[in-house]
């Protein structure tokens, strides 16, 4: 009887987890923003305009208390959603059940068990808690449980990361595997009236990534 129950549990668990997708290994590598010529893409400018028009009072308050100097941890410890407001080069490392995404000198671990919840000891941080799954040929990553930060720095920072905040990233490879489309949906109902969406295009590169540094707290 116990053996039977155990078998049922094992079969149920394996039915819940997705099989490893054949494209997961092909995602691995270094990716460079395809419009990296110093100009900001129309898509990015539209995203920034949307964020400005949708910002609520709490967002304005954040800006008033925000200092963009180098002694501010926000200036160096970039968030998971920062790729939306400050598109930069990044790398993907496929480790099977886990994918490592490295950008801004920080590595975010994405569990491919979509239902995995953070452990009790988890402390919300700028990178959040990321889980992923495949939807057809698209990798979808959902990140929650942030600490507050900014998804774009500078004179007009874009705040993000209240307890309800969520980032959903959709990664779609081109047929030849050399181009990657990344659509990002940011949802933070306390800072923005509506969710924000932006799409950035990347090309595969073998060179050294432009984003370096890591996170230095003041």
């Amino acid at each position: 009887m116990c053996l039977w129950l155990g078998l049922v549990v094992i079969v149920s668990a394996s039915a819940l987890a997705q099989d490893r997708h054949p494209l997961q290994a092909r995602l691995a590598g270094q990716w460079k923003v395809s419009t990296m010529d110093g100009t900001e893409s129309t898509e990015l400018l539209q995203f920034l305009a949307l964020a400005e028009t949708n910002m609520m009072g709490a967002g304005e308050n954040f800006r008033e208390t925000y200092a963009s100097g180098g002694d501010n941890a926000l200036s160096t410890c970039r968030m998971a959603g920062a790729l939306a407001g400050d598109p930069t080069d990044f790398s993907i490392l496929d480790r099977g059940d886990v994918i490592d995404l490295t950008a801004f000198g920080r590595t975010r671990r994405v569990s491919m068990d979509f239902d995995l919840e953070p452990p009790d000891a988890y402390v919300p941080n700028e990178l959040g808690w990321s889980v992923g799954r495949w939807v057809g040929d698209m990798l979808v990553i959902r990140t929650r449980h942030f600490s507050e930060g900014a998804i774009r720095l500078g004179e007009q920072p874009l705040p993000f990361g209240t307890p309800l905040a969520q980032v959903v990233e959709r990664y779609t490879l081109s047929e030849d595997g050399d181009r990657l489309s990344l659509a990002i949906n940011l949802n933070d109902p306390e800072y923005y009236l509506f969710s924000l969406r932006v799409r950035h295009e990347y090309v595969r590169t073998e060179g050294v990534l432009s984003s370096t540094g890591g996170c230095v707290r003041g």
């Binding site: 939807v135 057809g136 979808v140 959902r142 949906n185 109902p189 009236l193 509506f194 969710s195 969406r197």
Partner: protein, 232 residues
């Protein structure tokens, strides 16, 4: 031949059995049908949203965004306002749109049925455990059955046809297995109403979505509004 014989042979002796089955069914129905709950009439009135935590459309988008199925992603990538947006096209609205709009709504107590009026549409919620009538087809409002669990009115709606949900990003609800569960709980003074909604639709979402709203009684005067398609 033998089958016809069996049927003929069954005609007379079968009736007592049929009567027994009918009696049993009726008794089961009387078990299912509840006595009228004293709070049912208290629910009557106009209710308006008084919530916090951000706009309801954004909260719906947050719940749905990461759990879309491939069918939902395909719908989204093919979405065009002039074809798919029920609100913009003045089409009948899915009751599930409650989760993204939290619209003002009215409740009327009709005894065996409770009428929920939202989006200028009347949804009948049958409280007597009746079966769907012959000729019932799935439709935008679906089939709603209600029952009391303690002091909470629980409404289960099925047989929904697909409809768009109000959200910054296109969302759909109403696959063949779609089910909507609403729980209405009055406050002690009957001036506030907590509404919990569970939307389950494995065709479009890999997990059920849950929402909670707070409504307060309103003395607004509602009136008809001609819907004008809003296409840009």
């Amino acid at each position: 031949m033998s089958r016809k014989f069996e049927m003929r042979r069954c005609q007379l002796p079968c009736w007592p059995r049929v009567s027994l089955i009918i009696a049993l069914t009726l008794s089961l129905h009387s078990v299912e049908a509840q006595d009228r709950h004293p709070l049912q009439s208290e629910l009557e009135g106009l209710w308006t949203y008084e919530g916090s935590g951000g706009p309801t459309e954004t909260l719906l988008d947050r719940e749905a965004e990461g759990i879309l199925t491939e069918a939902a992603e395909t719908y989204r990538s093919n979405w065009r306002i002039e074809e798919h947006d029920d609100e913009a096209l003045c089409r009948a609205r899915s009751p599930a749109a409650l989760a993204g709009s939290a619209p003002d709504f009215e409740i009327f107590d009709g005894g065996v049925s409770v009428h929920l009026i939202a989006f200028e549409q009347v949804r009948r919620v049958y409280m007597d455990g009746r079966e769907r009538p012959a000729g019932f087809w799935a439709n935008k409002l679906g089939w709603s059955e209600g029952r009391w669990e303690g002091n909470t009115l629980v409404i289960r709606t099925t047989d929904l046809k697909e409809g768009s949900l109000p959200s910054p990003e296109p969302l759909l609800f109403g696959g063949p297995e779609a089910e909507m569960i609403e729980r209405y709980t009055l406050s002690e003074g009957a001036s506030r109403l907590s509404v919990d909604v569970i939307l389950e639709d494995p065709t479009y979402y890999i997990h059920p979505m849950e929402f909670s709203f707070e409504f307060v009684r309103s003395d607004k005067t509602l009136h008809g509004i001609d819907c004008i398609p809003t296409l840009y």
